[in-house]
């Protein structure tokens, strides 16, 4: 294989990975949402099943024929209007799934993901202990496999900044709470989920327009933060409960709230209105969906307002003073309790907003969606230096960009590993974080 050919294959593969990710993700989400809609064959006859979703860049392909065979059993299935298919299969562990490429639209083919597979449209399916297996194909357009590595890189960086700004909204709150009260709040993840769930209830269950639902969700989140402080954290502070104890209480609260969301919303994924907005090309091959652009603008505006508040206003200055030294702040006449209350309200409001944006970015709302990014938020905060608001923002953007770009080099299901690994490495050399101070280490 000569160099040019090799490069082409590499590009093709990268594109393939990207498409595969989209196909797999959309399959996972859509299957979780409404599994009964798939075009189903023999599902009632057998307990085991193979399921899949044929999509090209999130556009469903209808009427694609697939043949599933193995152990003397053979069945044919066609995808439905949403690109889904499902077949029941008898006991036995291995089946061959063949996608009939002639039934794909013109100019579209199954992409060879390995690089040396002559028949990428034929795959072996193993039935796992769960009795069901997901089988997806890597589908792409021949003539569009020319996205250069540089273009992809730029696209990932733009996405990463967007993700990072969203993380930043959550991270600033955690950092402020830590700075003023010393609490590493694990329940912050559930404050993120709370915002998204509230937006879902207002917009979908009550049917109100999104532009009312989201501000209302942020307001409800702020109220949630205030009531948590009033009902739980303030009494515990008054009682003089230790920092480690408070942290374990927040873990308990996190578990209780997370499963409460599951209790009321179930284990599935639900979508906010407008989550399927079209992509708008920006430059080169970089395109962002409308919601992503709006979300980026909202993040930036909120963060700028917050920075102004923290640096210029009286209560912002008081917050920084309490972060610096609570006793000294109290001695100079600052009402520490009031500052902490304001911090909880702000932190919860920003976490709620982050939850709504995360719901659009993922996309989808799930009971444990906050917990999925909690560690990234902690990584961001620790990178930047616990307790410093601007450090949290810098850390978030680094983590966001790292997570998004790392999947160009490592398998995409390991993209969080890169960010968490960097956290551990940074702590080796600079335990106090990028903008933190030495006193924070033991």
């Amino acid at each position: 294989m000569n160099t040019a050919e090799y490069r082409r294959t590499r590009r093709k593969n990268r594109r393939g990975v990207l498409v595969a990710l989209i196909v797999a993700l959309s399959a996972a989400f859509s299957l979780m949402a409404m599994p009964a809609m798939a075009d189903e064959v023999n599902v009632d006859e057998y307990d085991n099943s193979i399921i899949g979703n044929v999509k090209l860049e999130s556009v469903a392909l209808e009427g694609v024929l697939l043949t599933i065979s193995g152990g003397g059993y053979e069945v044919e299935v066609a995808t439905d209007a949403d690109g889904r298919w499902k077949v029941g299969v008898p006991d036995g562990d291995e089946f061959t799934v063949t996608l009939n490429e002639d039934t794909l639209p013109e100019g579209i083919a199954v992409i060879d993901e390995v690089g040396d597979d002559d028949t990428p449209n034929v795959k072996e399916a193993m039935i796992g202990p769960s009795g069901s297996t997901v089988m997806n194909f890597f589908i792409g357009r021949g003539e569009r496999n020319v996205t250069s590595f540089f273009d992809q890189f730029v696209e990932r960086i733009v996405n990463g900044v967007n993700f990072g700004l969203m993380l930043g909204l959550a991270a600033i709150g955690i950092s402020l709470v830590y700075g003023t009260t010393g609490l590493s709040n694990f329940a912050h993840a559930e404050m993120v989920t709370f915002g998204a769930v509230m937006a879902l209830i207002v917009s979908v269950d009550l049917g109100w327009p999104v532009w009312i639902a989201i501000p209302l969700a942020v307001l409800l989140s702020a109220g949630f933060g205030w009531s948590l402080d009033a009902a739980l954290w303030k009494p515990l502070r008054k009682k003089g409960v230790g920092i480690v104890q408070l942290m374990i209480v927040s873990i308990g609260l996190s578990l209780a709230l997370r499963y409460t969301f599951q209790y009321f919303r179930g284990g599935g994924t639900e979508q906010l209105p407008g989550s399927d907005s079209p992509d708008i090309p920006l430059f080169g091959s970089v395109s962002l969906s409308q919601t992503n652009m709006i979300s980026m603008v909202i993040s930036i505006v909120v963060i700028v307002i917050f920075a102004w508040w923290l640096v210029k206003t009286k209560i912002g200055k008081a917050t920084r003073a309490v972060s610096d030294n609570p006793s000294l702040a109290a001695a100079s006449g600052i009402d520490v309790d009031q500052v902490v209350r304001v911090v909880w309200i702000l932190a919860a409001a920003m976490a709620g907003l982050a939850g709504v944006l995360w719901a659009y970015f993922r996309p989808g709302i799930r009971w444990d969606m906050g917990a999925q990014i909690l560690l990234l938020v902690f990584a961001a905060v620790t990178l930047g230096g616990l307790g410093t608001a601007f450090g949290a923002l810098v850390g978030s953007i680094i983590v966001g960009v790292l997570v998004e770009t790392s999947s160009l080099f490592i398998p995409s299901d390991l993209k969080y590993v890169g960010a968490l690994g960097v956290l551990i490495i940074v702590l080796l050399f600079r335990p106090q974080g990028i903008l933190g101070r030495k006193e924070r280490i033991g």
Binding site: Q245, L255, F378, T382, V417, L420, I424, P431, R440
Partner: protein, 326 residues
């Protein structure tokens, strides 16, 4: 509603392999958190490394069962070194965040499809029982009475697990009354004072992390021994649940973690059987059976909060032994 069946399931859970696995992991956390004061939130990773080390070495490399266990334990020692060297200098809450991140890294590495050949990715691993069962000295048949009626393999796993648990409890008791244990407790009370006495605090902490990590790895192996290794088990919630069991029994005690685990699983099994049954006969008209399965996890969270606030020393503990309570 079959009350007898519910009670029987609950009774059976008291000596289930999962209970023994939790008890071992909780003993490890007692070493880390209760005695040394290290806020290790990555216990799930030690359990995962134990379980995967055992299963992979048997399935991929054809080791005998004891070889698999040695690999699992060895893996946890290596992980303790890798985790401890950069992080043990960090203060309590920082350490918690970093260990929880490390545990998540370990879980994602076992979950990724990249190493599917060895780890089975999302499906996990199973079918590694042959070697362990071949070593079973108990003749075939069913033994026991009431809720505790198991076949030869069932008893073999339980007896082996309880023996390991007893050994671990004995080791923990023995080292904590030795001079080494006094230094460890001293580190928990006042690190600087111990340093002033010329002790290498970092080295002691690392040894504590390794010993507790071995208990955790054995816990992971016992947990996976009768059935399969499933990556969905080793999530951060597992660490939190083990902490709940530990704090329930008493963090700085030998028997506390064991009693805490038994109560934790007893109550969990009771609720997971009782609540759906109550829903089915119409006693809880406002929830579905699926919802009733979620309730017990909400209760774990609430119980953890109440425990830490009102009785941080747990059932057996002594409040003087708790430096994390200010």
């Amino acid at each position: 509603m079959d009350i007898l069946q519910i009670l029987s399931n609950t009774g059976s859970s008291l000596i289930a392999p999962a209970t023994i696995g939790y008890a071992l992991a909780a003993l490890g956390l007692a070493m880390h958190f209760g005695f040394t004061g290290l806020l290790n939130m990555g216990m799930a990773a030690f359990m995962a490394i134990g379980a995967y080390g055992y299963a992979i070495s048997i399935l991929t490399f054809g080791f005998p069962w004891w070889g698999g266990m040695l690999v699992g334990v060895g893996g946890s020692l290596v992980f303790a070194l890798i985790l401890g060297i950069p992080t043990l200098r960090l203060r309590g809450d920082y350490l918690a965040i970093v260990t929880i991140a490390a545990a998540e890294v370990v879980r994602l590495l076992f979950l990724t499809t990249t190493f599917d050949k060895y780890t089975g990715s999302a499906d996990g691993l199973s079918g590694y029982h042959e070697s362990f069962r071949a070593f079973n000295p108990i003749p075939d048949g069913t033994y026991g009475f009431g809720p505790w009626e198991y076949n030869a393999n069932g008893w073999w796993v339980r007896i082996f697990g309880i023996a390991i648990l007893a050994l671990a409890a004995f080791i923990l008791w023995a080292v904590m009354r030795s001079p080494w244990g006094r230094v460890i407790k001293g580190i928990r009370e006042d690190e600087d004072a111990v340093r002033a006495l010329g002790k290498n605090v970092f080295s002691y902490k690392l040894q504590s992390l390794m010993l507790g990590g071995v208990f955790g790895a054995m816990g992971g192996i016992i947990y996976a021994l009768p059935a399969s290794v499933n990556p969905g088990v080793y999530v951060t919630s597992l660490t939190f649940f083990v902490y709940t069991a530990l704090l329930l029994g008493g963090a700085a005690t030998i028997f506390g973690p064991i009693i805490g685990s038994v109560i934790f699983w007893g109550v969990q099994t009771l609720l997971s059987n009782l609540l759906p049954a109550m829903v089915n006969v119409g006693l809880l008209p406002f929830m579905t059976t699926t919802q009733s399965q979620t309730v017990r996890f909400i209760l774990v969270g609430v119980a953890l909060m109440l425990l830490v606030i009102y009785r941080p020393q747990g059932i057996l503990g002594n409040k003087k032994e708790l430096t994390f309570v200010k």
